[in-house]
Amino acid sequence: MGEVMYVIIVGAGKVGYHLGSLLMAEGHEVMLIEKDRAKVDLLSMEFHDAIMEADGSTVEALKEAGANRADVVVATTGNDEDNLVICQIAKVMFLRPRTIARVNNPRNEELFAGLGVDASVSATKIINAVIQEQVKAGDMMIPLLTLKAGDIEIVEVQLTRSSHIVKKKIKDLTLPTGSIFIAVIRGEEVIIPYGETEFRPEDKVLALVKRTSEEALRKML
């Protein structure tokens, strides 16, 4: 793990609470700011001095939390207007911290970026991205693993009778650049493919593919 960071989290809802717990478990210093007294009371057993009751979207509260020495300020409340103001205060008053905002309405993401929020996280967008991946898989290719910052994937393709490569040998195929077959699963058997390997309709093919070549591979199969 890298060096210890001081992270201020505004909003002790589910996102703020779990983020705070995770960061503390990793050895970072955390301060949770929550304006609802009941929530503060509930969490004080666990967070002790690392939680305070205040409106985190005010200069006073952030100052009291020690925003001057914070490495990161994360705004996780359920209100986008509060999250925006928290990040803007942090940027203007306490020059050092990186600011991260939870975006509840994905349409606010662009606005946030334009107004000096360093990074924003939208649960809606993340879930949507996952769904899109699944939909793509529905038409054949299932991404199994994404490597190296999303540039390379291992994908699984279930062949059918109508697949273009059925009854063809690998040596007779021209694979798109940036892709290679790594295994053929035939029933219980796993075959490491070579030039003479001929594809059958029941085969499952594993391939390593660059994102940029994914579409070409999809067409070929």
Binding site: S57, T58, V59, E60, N79, D80, E81, D82, L84, V85, Q88, I89, V92, M93, R107, L111, G114, L115
Partner: protein
């Protein structure tokens, strides 16, 4: 002039009435229909029920070349978010946010947002009263 007022509270409603009486074209937006009861019976401007943070509710008015927008809901954070978005997406002569928190008002002034701080105004007035007495 064409003026849009977001937030038909105690101050917003009176401002709307006065501007309307003075012959300006006024559009008032509030998320609560009941808020419009504060407008006078003679008010001839438009009333829109909606959320000022959602662009669909303000776009039709601002597209037709409004001159001024006042964001004056009871929430400072809502007001500064509204004006910052409007400034980016529309061409208005003036966009003003009412910010009750005096420190926050100063901070947003630094960021180039035109703000009016009722707290500062009241304090200024009270201090003046004391000096005069």
């Amino acid at each position: 002039m064409k003026v849009m007022i977001i937030g038909c509270g105690r101050v917003g409603s009176v401002l709307a009435n006065r501007l309307d009486e003075a012959g300006h074209q006024v559009v008032v937006l509030d998320r609560n229909q009941q808020a419009f009861r504060r407008l006078s019976g003679k008010f001839s401007g438009r009333r829109i029920v909606g959320n000022g943070l959602v662009e669909e509710y303000v776009r039709p008015t601002l597209q037709e070349e409004a001159d001024i927008l006042f964001a004056m809901t009871d929430k400072d954070n809502v007001n500064v978010m509204i004006v910052q978005r409007v400034k980016r997406n529309f061409k208005l002569e003036r966009v003003v946010a009412v910010v009750h928190d005096s420190i926050l008002a100063g901070l947003y002034k630094e960021l180039g947002v035109e703000t009016v701080c009722p707290t500062d105004l009241v304090i200024k007035d009270l201090l003046q009263t004391i000096q005069e007495s």
